[in-house]
Amino acid sequence: MKVKRTGGVAGLIVVGTVALAACGSDNNAGTTSSGTSGGTSASPAAQVACASGALTGAGSSFQAPIQQQWVKDYSAKCAGTQINYQSVGSGAGVQQFTSGTVDFAGSDVALKPDEQTKADARCAAGPAVHIPITAGGVALEYNLAGVKDLQLSPATVAGIFAGTIKTWDAPGIKADNPNAKLPATPVTAFHRSDGSGTTQVVSEFLDSQAKGAWTLGSGKEINWPGGQGAKGSEGVTAGVKQTDGGIAYSEVSFAKANSLSVAKVRNASGQYAELNAANVSKALESFTVTGSATDVKGTVNYGVSSGYPISTVTYVIGCGKGGKNTPLLKSYLTYAVTGGQAVADSLGFAPLPTAIADKNKAAITAIG
């Protein structure tokens, strides 16, 4: 009979599942030892006031790697905690935070006024607050045979991504690289086809620093006139890797992992700055807080005279008052903005400048 048969299959699966459940484990103490590149235990000095329980966060994929590292390091220090951060995108993270399904959101941009209203309503007893949790620069990664030290001005970057600069030996690129031997390879610019905080940062940078050359506005999505879209940083990076003459913007970790060169970008004082942690931290010294003592949201200044100009912060958004699992959230965030900053460099992020870190500490203490 049919029923028997289905029962048989079901029984088989149940038995299999139980058998599997008996042999698997959550304990990765033995298997992770091969993680070589540093940072994992780089914060011995940090004293962590542990809390216990479980915490759920969702949002930005930009900050996902460092969240993953913090979860590992934090739970190594504070046994018995389960922190689950899922990279679903800033917008989805904010929505899930607003609807109360997660305890905190990771977002590359501050809440818009209407989002802030909804998020405040979710936190019954108090407003939702922003904590800039780490900093990072956006890399311009490229693949061009024979060219290793590309330098780009904001206007040239705008021309490349807007499709007005079509070959690598165009006058604009030549002017930025007087000493380089540039081939006539066509420029293939890859942009993100998905909505992305990285797109927003790059377009805001171009909008403010390449006036005249950039007319496409700014946002997580741009109405691209040309170039090629690809999904996610992995998509654009694969595109660049597969195409001689390809260029894309992405997190620096993708460029490093795929051995792609990263261009230097000209800042407001005319220097071509390299993308590294020090230059990003330096650029973010001009970050201006527009929130309050308890809500550290602010605006990034792209017209920096020193440091790497396409730098930004990424936020964690949580309840200032009235949230769930508050002690663990406070403890985890405190670890992240203090001891946790030490792992930033190894993952392609940059430690927060002291000014922001101090404001963060005060804001986190006020949560409760």
């Binding site: 028997k4 299959v9 484990s25 959550d26 091969s34 070589t36 790697p65 399904t101 940083s233 993952l347």
Partner: protein, 364 residues
């Protein structure tokens, strides 16, 4: 080459009148021997070379393609002359069917081969028995254990929900429904096949997770997956049930067996191989779904056994997330996870096939 290969053995009656077919192709093989066909092939290659000299065509792949096409044309023309139009068309059809098989298997085997190539190195017992708990982004360790458990639970629940329901709907459409309602159900089940997976996820997210305050869970994931499974189960079961010969039913009725018993013990078992294929296609479709899981299962780096409450991981979700990472260690995990996923689906498939085979009433 397949052009001249006669069917080797007389077949059992099940595969449809092939003794006669074999006979006919032996006859034709006598008319056109191997040599002229070989000559046609050689002529085609030579012709292609000539074409490549005088036209801007270039490249090995193109050469092979053009040669093959010319060979088919030449072979057909030869057969037409020697054996007449009907035999020539028959030969062409045989070649076309074989070509289809090759054309289908090449990319499909390519996909699996590529997955094995990229995933086999990382696959190990430790990979299958460890979760991602406490694994940093640069760590090579960890595994997909929690995802395997999650996927098995979610797909099992989704199947338990959608297979009986789908079968009942298919039975209603084929056996009972005559009027407008049956037509409507049939039509809208077809429409249901076009629901994008993420919309099913959105629906469950809005309705189950938010409206009913049930939160993320394996069950929520199973609900969205069952929305995707249902139309495939209904549609394929319907086709298979309809193909059960009326004579079988009539024989059963004649013995005084009531209709519902006839359906359950004659019609369904007869159609069971086809229904299993349909169910497996449905299972296969949803096992690899990622988009709805993001909104319903949510994901979890820790092992989470309870499917009723709390975020749970799933294999496709893991594959998707690991593949989106910058680091080689994660990409390796993604491919190994993909390989695991294929293996699990294939194992489920083989199990289902063996069970239906043993119980099939009518392998006529």
């Amino acid at each position: 080459m397949t052009l001249t290969a006669p069917t080797p053995t007389p077949d059992p009656p099940a595969s449809g009148g092939q003794p006669a077919a074999a006979h006919s192709s032996r006859l034709t093989a006598a008319h056109v021997g191997r040599l002229p066909m070989l000559a046609a092939m050689l002529a085609a290659v030579g012709g292609t070379a000539l074409v490549f000299v005088v036209t801007p065509l270039a490249g090995t792949a193109e050469f092979v393609l053009v040669s093959l096409m010319l060979a088919v044309v030449a072979g057909t023309a030869l057969s037409w002359r020697v054996e007449g139009r009907r035999r020539a068309v028959d030969r062409l059809a045989t070649t076309a069917a074989t070509a289809c098989l090759l054309a289908a298997l090449t990319p499909l085997v390519g996909v699996i081969g590529y997955t094995v190539y990229r995933g086999a190195a990382r696959l190990s017992l430790s990979f299958l028995t460890h979760s991602m708990a406490g694994v940093g982004p640069l760590d090579a360790g960890g595994g997909v254990y929690h995802g395997i458990i999650g996927t098995l639970e979610q797909v099992l629940i989704a199947s338990l929900l959608s297979v009986p329901l789908g079968l009942l709907v298919a039975i209603y459409i084929t056996e009972y429904g005559h009027g407008r309602l049956a037509t409507a159900i049939r039509f809208f089940v077809d429409v249901m096949t076009g629901i994008p997976s993420i919309v099913a996820g959105l629906f469950v997210f809005a309705f189950w997770v938010l409206e009913l305050h049930r939160g993320f869970s394996g069950l929520a994931a199973a609900l969205s997956l069952s929305i995707l499974m249902l139309p495939v189960v209904v549609r394929s079961s319907e086709e298979m049930i309809k193909l059960v010969p009326g004579s079988l039913r009539e024989a059963s009725y004649a013995l005084g067996v009531p209709r519902w018993r006839t359906i359950l013990s004659i019609v369904l078992p007869t159609a069971s191989t086809g229904i299993t294929t349909g169910v497996m296609l449905a299972v296969a479709r949803v096992t690899g779904e990622t988009a709805p899981l993001l909104l319903t299962a949510f994901g979890n780096d820790f092992l989470h056994l309870n499917p009723l409450r709390g975020g749970q991981s799933a294999l496709p979700l893991l594959v998707f997330q690991q593949a989106g990472s910058a680091y080689d260690v994660a990409i390796a995990r993604a491919w190994a996870g993909a390989l695991t996923l294929i293996t699990i689906v294939v194992l489920l498939y083989v199990a289902a096939r063996m069970l239906t085979r043993r119980n099939t009433l009518a392998r006529r």
